[in-house]
Amino acid sequence: MWLLHGTTLRRAERIIRVGPDLRFVEPGAAGLPAENITFAVEGHPACLGSAARYAADKSSNFPGEGGPVVVAVDVPDELVMAAAKELAEGILGPVDEAGLLVAVVGMWGGILFEKGPAFAALMAAWPGLPKEIRSVP
């Protein structure tokens, strides 16, 4: 499924090139790393907020970074499922995988990757994943 991440052009170019960097420190963040990255799922209600909105806000906060854009990447379902499973099992214990993907895609419209096996798998797959930078109107 296509995942969308709103950011600035400068950051998007780096993400496309080397993948999401959980150690990235945003200017003004007091040295604190990002630690996670959130994506909206294309074609579903943006229950966590739209990628375009995030891009606009990010660009507004960092006007010297080339303007708002969306990083779009086609991630295999099983990687999204793995990320959701990591999030869910910390809260609920063992979960039904089929129901989990429905919850993530249908009720959140998004997914978050943080340090763990799912993120490691995403990074390993990253060079071969279809991806692009989309402009924000």
């Binding site: 990002a34 959130t38 907020g49 806000d57 910390g90 979960v95």
Partner: protein
């Protein structure tokens, strides 16, 4: 059941009972938070629910899971009143469903350095369908 288990166990039970699993995380967390009159924040690597600014009951949420909750908070506030909050924080109002007559007020921060959520039940506001039934146009809202 110990106090430490109380909130976390109720949250898990509510999510499981709803059949929504992870999808119901935000709604149930906010509803329980209002019942407890508490604050949830991520601090020193732990997600804590605190009452009256003291103590703290640890919740089984990673920082990432809590940031998803906060992102959902921002999105629901935007649905209720566009422009009322930013994805990074603010104080706004929300409904859990478009036809829900109960409005909740929340205050939240969702930045790299701080993650915090407070919630309060607010006044009853007739849902659009009810207002139409009363003869009030949506434009009169």
């Amino acid at each position: 059941m110990s106090e430490r288990e109380g909130f976390a166990e109720r949250l898990k039970a509510a999510m499981a009972a709803s059949g929504e699993g992870l999808g119901g995380l935000f709604d149930h967390l906010v509803k329980l938070l209002i019942e407890e009159d508490g604050v949830v924040e991520f601090r020193d690597g732990r997600c804590l629910m605190r009452r009256d600014g003291v103590g703290g009951e640890e919740l089984p949420l990673t920082k990432g899971a809590f940031r998803i909750v906060l992102a959902r908070a921002a999105a629901l506030c935007e649905e209720f009143a566009p422009g009322s909050v930013s994805p990074y924080g603010g104080e706004g109002r929300l409904r859990f469903a478009p036809d829900d007559g109960v409005v909740h007020r929340i205050s939240f921060v969702n930045t790299t350095g701080e993650q915090r959520l407070e919630a309060w039940r607010e006044e009853f506001v007739p849902a659009p369908a009810e207002r139409l039934a009363e003869g009030l146009s949506p434009a009169a809202r």
